[in-house]
Subunit: 324 residues, 6 copies
């Protein structure tokens, strides 16, 4: 069943944004500090058992100079300069194994998969990156409310910074054509891609697939599904902190990042998605400030288009990047 | 939580088998008829958007000469003779897209993915192969009870025959080394691989991952999870046909196929798997008549080892096939 | 809780219909072919252990001339010409036992209960009629999507044809007054009765009780309960076939059959019915082209009025048929 | 899945009984008092709209002389002396409508359906009989714990007394052969039939179908399904009354009534029944002191054999009563 | 997620009331009869093991002169005249233990906790008060439909009368300042407090916390959660009694009591409360005829503000009663 | 229903312990380091609105010298030396409000409630204490797997150390008789009390109520309820770390702490508790090395005895401490 507004209303849904005055300053300072703390990345050859793909185990400096893990895959024997997809993982998952990420290298791209700090123990793709920064204050199980009373200590400040640094790491790799780097991901990965799209210039494209991390307050009002429900749980205990929670989240809202976008985007949305309800996706899509298109999956839930969306993305990039 | 016997009892669990006297004759006649009805397979190049893999859209003759679809993937530009994995799909899924099946070609194998007749509309991987044979008689929703009152009309007679024909199709392909063909699959795919392992000689290996379709009666007595529950549903309506149902299933039980195995096998089992309970897997494993090993995933449900099992399989085959 | 529009809006709810141009031709050809293939029905006395009812085990020719089972019950020792109720069964059920169908003969009617091809193994009333025609193409578990890409191969083409043939079979029975035949059923049975009401002239009455099989697309958009959910599941896998599915269903929509009705009808609807939501029932009711009335059960779910509705039906027919 | 002991252990399961010393005295006094308070029953012709059945609306004196409702059905125009089935209703249901009870009159029996005092508002068959006696003390929602701290005030003392009085009412009816009266019912109705079987001499047969109200303590220890769960809920609040609860229940346990049985019985049990677990049924069956047989439904839950069991009952009585 | 109208609509939600013409007469007669039947209360010292609180086990005369239990707590060694909170318990609970009720005496109040007749066996706080009056007629499990066809026999007529008598009992206690008595409670306790607020003059304040027992019909139309669902269950069985049920409830609706209020009130409401939906609370709040305020808990369900609301209540009373 | 072994087997259930050789050294070093880092506690008067209780907002130094919050309650105007209960909170809860903790001061005790670092945002009692130490490595949502690969970095090393420090803080308070300090708590609080009982000498008593944090591995094998399920989730992702997880937990197992106990204990256990299954509680109880008793709640789940257990505890301490 449909879980949100009718499609015609969704197409027009463009709510007021609540961007803080110091949004740009906040992020500039955050990213500059991370760059200042960064060490050069390491790319260690990894014996994956695969014969058509070269895999490297990556460590780069994320927020606070913290080491962040990843996988770098490229078609065996490829020489630069390849277009590159930087991919972010869904909520609760980590980088898993190279076998989990074969599509983009098979399609001829370099591919950097960023591990998700602290995550990757949710019964799904395992992760290998700690989150060594303490968020401050009690929080609900999960990651949505870690440090949520203070934008400077909020978990996603660290994670979005890692993501920007992942793009910078990819751009600096000798196999990669730095002018053809794409940010991509589904669900939380899509929300991270949105953030990257608002924080990084010169991206070739952004591919937010059923993105999470948009229009938080409405999300808590219309769905009780995890992970947005973690915010509800926190506010249920901390009745006096509700406004402060949503003040913090204004610095991390995909709707605000969308308004700063400069690269073309291919979104997806699913009309039966009660995890990332369609109106929260359209809120970001309709504020996206650059070229954009969206695939609508009418009879899908949060799984969205799955590899059918992947086929769409491959075709979208081929046209955009004028690949053969 | 653990869902079945303790591990030490599982390791010793080897129930009496109930193989029908005409088990071999039944299958010989079945397979001979299919071969007699077969037309040559077609392999049509498929534009998958991938650059490191050559993909062909396959049609081969299965049970009754019916056309069965599949994908054939191989590393781009590979020349024979490659080892080949023939893979079968889990319950409710079809062949999906080539993007869904990148592992084995990336590992240097030819890879034939067989579509599942009639299946592939379960909200998951779509399928493209009809099941043109009528099973006879009413049945429960799903495929477990189609024709279940008569071994000759039972759905899995057709599907297992398709699978044997898939192996024969792979063996005949010019890229494939017919002496190094492996049958593999998870869940229903693992159950099909077990059947193939009992019906086909000269396989290089069999890889049944958390296999379904074993020790049916016990399964219905200890779990209410689909798809074994379809048998329960059927027997709930047809109170007078219970014995007849289980008589038919003796021709299709992985426990009986295991006793005819000739190729080395790498199984997997998960101790928290309430879909394919561990004792049903061990019943087949402990009857497997050839060399064998098993990976035990203590804290996993029916997802089993996922790509960690795939890594195990790749290593197992590398040793077995003496690959570089 | 109420699951759909408020009652005052339901009473006025009369959506646009999407009847295909060849709707009439499609059905005329379909029914003519079935009649051409028909053999005479057989009525075999059945020892039911009952002493006030004569029971016959019926076999008549349905779609494609296929044998369809049924029960024929009449008050013991009755002589023609009796009014007759032809009844269709709810989703997943078959004809069961004569003991399951004692009401109408006790009320003085001849009563033909039609078995449901392929169904009757759902853990409920067992069935005895195979569906020997292959629907073509993969489908979701259940019957809603069998052949759904092609109106000619769709399961309900066969089932609705069986139902018309059941009415014709009843009319030809020596005990039955052919001018006083009534089509009845609840849920799927009510949807079949609607179809019969649009396809057969000269019925005495139609009794669709909480009918299923109406206004399919809205149903999938407002409920996730089975069996409408089978359509959702199918569309979830087959993202590219959504429009084709609903194009097929236009030939089988109770809303369209209603617009061709010629006999008086007594409907029922339940305001807490999330299986057959009230607006889908009112869509058919408000398009019903002949005399009509409806019983509204405010605090009931899909069980509707149960035997209280049966009492209403008996009274409705008594007035209509001017019975003593 | 099976919910209790394996069948071979069930067949031998005969737990110690805990019959109170004054069990007989308690019931003799109870029944004598009811008889002393009784007024003659009334049988009012009821216009049911049926033509093969004569229906009377019954009021007879139950416990405390309280008026208890019922339906009396007989084949139209029958003259005495008919065998008669006295039937008791499942938990939460009342006498409903005559249309709900057509089987036994259709089979040639007189049929008295007893309403269940206080029950009949559970969303199912409505009831018409109040329970004018106050049970004393707080109780859990439902009927299982009304007055449970004192055998004299326990709800089932009143209900079982009603049931004995229903048998006596049937026996006195001019259409009924008092030597051929049968007590029957499913679930709670079966538990009541067991009680009647232990309290009334000279019954022709007892038909306890998946009986409830047996071996209470074990039931609460092995299932959390309603209605046994009402006892659990009560004991959860009243931690100091656990032993007193089970002391009371010894006067109302089907296991104890079974030990006083004098009439032949046909039981049923379902191996997947988690409402009335099989061991609680076998506990009564194995203590049944007269001739007995049992139908085992292996793949059924609490629905048991449904009308297939009814067919068995009709055949069992035909043999027993030497009916034509 | 929010479960009802948006907050701005809730603030304005003031539905038509349906107060019966004899509402006042009904309650005057009811209360007068109870007072006429009353015996003096008893206050028995209770050894609670507590050293800062004096506890008495209370028995007072409620409806029909029936003995109703309670606890009376006061700061050890306090001398009159104390303000007093009379508190009513949520659905299914009884008076429990003195340890369950330490807040108001710790805050310096006398505190009378009224037991809930018949309730207190729901797996939660136990109760000790029988409901010796028979309600008449079958009813659903629970207390909502006991005697619901007749206002004179409805359960809540007795319970609300008990509550008025509890206030009168408190006022007569030597420790209590009769001009400073407060009626309080959460959920069912809040609904009882509303009733008391409409029936008793001269209260110092009323504290209805997420009150139940308001705007019944809308409640049944928008939620399926217990206990409002008991009404739905009853109407599901008794299809012919729906209007009569809601006619009875007009005498017991918090919306009608609110319109007769004379004391200042502090309400609470929770926007995610699907047990007592916000619009049913606002319906009473917006009709409250005296001074009023409300605390809105945006991210809470039926637990509402819990002890944070208690802190609000303590502060509200301190200002109102001009306590130190 | 019972969820574990029969009571007679539970009473004898005393599994092998797996205490690490350096268990004592590990804890001695841990506690010494915390003491070395400690600053003096602060006790700030808190305006709670209560008049019979003096409340202080406490901050003391826990693990690593980190500030840990708490409440200190005592009867108003009490002078030393009082017995004191140090209480720990259940999983997911924090110290909440003083109103949440009125029992022990009302019973005449000083009462220190320790906040739970990091916890207190689970939709229940809010907490105010951050967990400033980073645990290292990814973890599952919740607290059970934070740092679980290394005993030195495991979350419960910090929390148990806080708890020992809380006891030391209480002992140093001028109102408290340091020889009569009791460690108490339910669920997680009970598990912490067990740890304190094994780590601190000279306690007057330990009151572990339905304790959590015992016999972890068996718990994961027999229940899927949170929070033990967090371990299952972690192991589900990190298949290669299973043994390492349980090696770490040996340092934190209530079974091992019990073997070092020196103070008398009153346990409780609930036979229907599927959160902290009875055998895990008995495993600790049967290894408790000092005087002990246990209350068994047969018909309760994880709520156990609630305030009935509190009454038992008050009586137990009165005897033990020879209070008036």
């Amino acid at each position: 069943m449909f879980v949100d507004l009718p499609l015609e209303q969704l197409r027009a849904y463009r709510p007021e944004r609540g961007e803080p005055d110091d949004f740009g300053a906040f992020w500039t300072a955050t990213l500059d500090a991370a760059r200042a703390a960064a060490a050069p990345p390491t790319f260690t050859p990894y014996h994956s058992g695969l014969s058509t793909v070269d895999v490297h185990d990556v460590t780069f400096s994320g927020f606070g100079g913290h080491p962040v893990k990843g996988w770098f895959l490229a078609p065996r024997g490829a020489a630069g300069s390849l277009p590159c997809v930087v991919e972010f993982v869904g909520y609760g998952g980590g980088r898993g194994l190279p076998l989990d990420w074969l599509a983009w290298s098979a399609a001829g791209y370099a591919h950097l998969v960023m591990d998700t700090r602290g995550q990757g123990s949710g019964g799904w793709l395992p992760g290998d990156t700690p989150d060594p920064e303490e968020s401050g204050g009690p929080h609900s199980p999960g990651f949505m409310t870690r440090g949520v009373l203070d934008p400077h200590r909020y978990y996603y400040r660290r994670l979005f910074t890692d993501a920007v640094r992942a793009v910078e790491t990819a751009r600096a790799h000798p196999l990669v054509d730095a002018t053809r780097v794409v940010a991509a991901g589904a669900s939380q990965g899509g929300g991270i891609a949105l953030a990257v799209g608002g924080l990084v210039d010169g991206l070739a494209a952004v591919l937010p697939d059923v993105p999470f991390l948009c229009h938080y307050r409405r999300a808590t009002e219309i769905t009780d599904k995890a992970p947005y429900y973690e915010l509800t749980t926190y506010c249920k205990s901390h009745r006096d902190h509700v406004e402060r929670v949503f003040d913090t989240l204004r610095y991390f809202d995909g709707v605000n990042f969308a308004a700063h976008a400069t690269a073309p985007a291919l979104f997806s949305v699913a009309l039966m998605d009660d995890v990332c309800p369609p109106s929260t996706v359209y809120a970001a899509y309709n504020h996206w400030a650059a070229a954009k298109d969206i695939r609508v999956w009418s009879y899908n839930g949060h799984e969205g288009g799955q590899n059918v969306q992947r086929v769409e993305q491959i075709a979208f990039l081929r046209d955009l990047l004028k690949l053969p």
